[in-house]
Assembly symmetry: C2
Homo-oligomer: 363 residues x 2
C-alpha cells in the first residue's frame, strides 16, 4: 500500500522524522545520565513503545490502568501509571497487573488509598511499588512534609514499597516563552528535589524522581535531583508544541512534526473545499484549527463532526474533488485517541500499520 | 453489574429516557406519515439502530461508508450514506456494500463521481441507488437546475438509479430561537421541495426527500414535500441541544438527556475535586463544559487529556475521593465516538453493554 491508497481520514507517521525525534530525546537524556520513561498516553501504541525501548527507554508511562494493561499484554516492561488507581474494582485489577508485571509502579496521593492498595495486595514476595504523586496544580499531595508523611506510611506497610516521587507539572510543559518555562520547571521541580532530600533524611530511600515533558526536558535534564524524564509528545509533535517558543523566541523546533491526519476533498462548493475530517478526525481542545501541509494559503474551518471547510480562495494551487490534504493536528494526544491505527510511512510506502491498541483505554 | 461498579470514565444510558425519546420521535413522524431513518452517526451502535427499527424506523443513516459497513454487518437494513463516496478504493467498497445490501442509498453531488460509480458498478440487476445531495452550506450541489441536471445524468446511466434528494441543512438544526429555526428550515427545505417538483416535471420520479434533525423535526414533519426525516441526537440529547430553545423561549425539552459520562474523583486537592474525565472522555468542540448531574454548584473545568477539575467551593454536598459524578456531555456525537461501549441501565442495574461497533469508523 502507498500513501495515496490509505482510506481517509487516517493518521500518517513519517518514520524518518519519528526516528529522528526518538534518537534526539534518547541521546540527550543518555548524555545527562537520566532514565527515559516516555509517556504512552500520547501514542497508546505498543509498537511505538517498543521503538522507544529499542532506543534506550527503560519502560513506558501510562495515564491509566487500562492503558497500562494493554502495554503489559504487549510485553512492554517498566510501566508507570501516572494517575492514582481509585476504587475497589480498579485496585483489584492493579494488584493483578502487579502480579503479572512486578516492576509496575503506581502513584498515590492519599493515605486511605495507600492502605487500600496494601490491604488488597496481600502478603507477597514483591511488594507493590508506589510513588508519591506531588501536587503542582492538578493531582497529587503537597510537596514537603505531607509527601514525607505519605512516604513514611507506605514504608510502614508490609505489602507496598516506596520507590520515589512523581513530579509532573502539566502547566510547565506549555509555559511560554522559553525562559519563563525554564524558571517555572526549575521552581516546581526544585520542590520535588527538596522533598526527596527530606524523605532521605527521614531514613527512607527515594531512588526515583520522575517528571518532565516535551516542553521542559532541556531544563529538567540539567536538574541533578531528577532521576528520570517522562516526555510523550516529542515522538509526534503538534501545532501547540510548535507555539511554546524556542530559545531564540521563535517556534519550538526541537522535534519534527512526524504525524499528520490525511483527508480527502469530498465536496467542492464554490470558494471552498470540504474535506472528510471534522471533530471525529481532530481533537478540538486548542484554540486553533489544523494546519495544512504541502499547500499554502489554505485555512481550515470546523464544519461539524465529519467535515472540515477549507477556505481555498488564497490557496497556492487548485484543489479538486478527491485530492488529499494532510494536516498537522492542533493537539496530538487526544487526536491519536480517535484512531484505531497509525500508518507508518517510509517516504510514500506504508511500511507498517500499527494498532493503537490502547485507544479509548482511559479507565 | 450495577451502576456503581462500572469502570470510569464510561458512557451510561438511561433506558427509560432512551425508550421515551425513541417513542416520541417515532410516533410524531408516524402520525404525520413521514418515513423515519434516524442518523447512526450519533450512536454508531447496532443495538441502538435495532431499537429504532423496532420502534418503526425504516433503516439507518451513516455518515460514512465504513460506518455503514459496520451497520450492514449487523444486519441493519435501509442504509443511507449521507456523505459522497469519493475515490477509486472507496467506490469499489461502496459497490461491494451495494451488492450485499441492495437497498443502500449513496449520495452524490458531482457529475464525474456519478460516472465513476456507474462505471465501477458494472452491469447489474439492481442499479446502485443514488440520491442527489443538495447544498445548504456544506456539501452538495445547488438546488434547482444544477440538481435537476445531476438527476438527469443519473437517470441516463444504466448501472445507477436516481431515488431522490438529500436535503440536510446542518445550520438549521442549531438555529435559535425556535421561530428563527422554523423559518430557516422552511426556507431551505422549500428549495428542496421545489427542486423535487422540477425533477418530476423533467419526467424523472423523485420518491425521496430526506433531511431534518433533532432541532428541526417539528417543522420538517409538517412540510408536505419532505418524505423522510433523519434526526440523530434525539436518542441521547446533549447540553447543546438543550440550548437551542423551545417554543416558549425556554430550554429545548422535546427529548430527555438519556446519556451521561460517569467519572470518579481521583484526587482531592483543597477546593477542587479532580475527576478522571478530560479531553479523552468528552468532546470539546462546544464552548461550554460538562454539566454535573445530581449535585448542585459544581463547575467543571478542563484539566487536560485525562482529567477534569471540579470547582466544588459551592457544591451542594461534599465530594470525597472515589465518589462518582455523572455529566451531561456538551456535544453527544463526538463524545460517543470516544468510547467502545454503552452501559445500558434500567435504574441502577446494567441491563446490557452495547458495543459502539462503528466507533472511529469515519472513513
Amino acid at each position: 500500500m502507498n500513501r495515496h491508497e490509505i482510506p481517509t481520514p487516517a493518521l500518517l507517521l513519517d518514520l524518518d522524522a519519528f526516528d529522528d525525534n526518538i534518537n534526539k530525546m534518547s541521546s540527550h537524556l543518555k548524555a545527562r545520565n537520566k532514565a527515559f520513561r516516555p509517556h504512552g498516553k500520547t501514542h497508546k501504541c505498543p509498537e511505538v513503545a517498543k521503538a522507544l525501548i529499542n532506543a534506550g527507554a527503560i519502560g513506558c508511562c501510562a495515564a491509566r490502568l487500562s492503558e497500562a494493561e494493554v502495554f503489559a499484554a504487549s510485553g512492554i516492561p517498566g510501566l508507570l501509571i501516572t494517575t492514582a488507581v481509585i476504587g475497589k474494582e480498579k485496585i483489584a485489577r492493579a494488584v493483578a497487573l502487579a502480579n503479572k508485571a512486578a516492576d509496575t509502579i503506581f502513584v498515590v496521593d492519599d493515605r486511605q488509598n495507600v492502605r487500600d492498595i496494601n490491604d488488597a495486595a496481600g502478603k507477597r514476595n514483591a511488594p507493590i511499588k508506589l510513588a508519591v504523586d506531588l501536587f503542582f496544580g492538578r493531582t497529587g499531595i503537597a510537596p514537603g512534609q505531607p509527601a514525607v508523611e505519605l512516604a513514611q506510611l507506605i514504608d510502614s506497610l508490609p505489602n507496598v514499597s516506596f520507590v520515589g516521587l512523581q513530579s509532573y507539572d502539566g502547566a510547565a510543559a506549555h509555559t511560554t516563552p522559553f525562559d519563563a518555562r525554564a524558571t517555572r520547571t526549575k521552581t516546581t521541580m526544585g520542590k520535588a528535589v527538596e522533598t526527596r532530600a527530606m524523605i532521605e533524611r527521614a531514613g527512607i530511600a527515594c531512588p526515583l524522581v520522575t517528571g518532565g515533558s516535551t516542553g521542559t526536558y532541556r531544563f529538567d535534564a540539567e536538574n541533578p535531583g531528577m532521576t528520570e524524564l517522562q516526555p510523550g509528545s516529542f515522538v509526534f509533535m503538534d501545532m501547540e508544541y510548535g507555539t511554546i517558543g524556542g530559545p531564540d523566541g521563535s517556534e519550538y523546533r526541537d522535534f519534527k512534526n512526524s504525524l499528520t491526519v490525511v483527508t480527502t476533498v469530498v465536496s467542492r462548493p464554490p470558494g471552498f473545499a470540504i474535506v472528510d475530517g471534522g471533530y471525529k478526525a481532530f481533537s478540538t481542545d486548542r484554540p486553533f484549527t489544523p494546519e495544512a501541509v504541502g499547500i499554502e494559503g489554505v485555512v481550515y474551518g470546523w464544519a461539524g463532526d465529519e467535515h472540515g471547510r477549507l477556505d481555498v480562495s488564497n490557496a497556492s494551487r487548485d484543489l479538486k474533488l478527491g485530492d488529499r490534504i494532510e494536516f498537522i493536528p492542533p493537539h496530538v494526544d487526544p487526536t491519536v485517541n480517535l484512531y484505531d491505527s497509525i500508518y507508518a510511512l517510509r517516504g510514500d510506502r506504508v511500511e507498517a500499520i500499527w494498532p493503537i491498541a490502547a485507544r479509548g483505554k482511559s479507565q
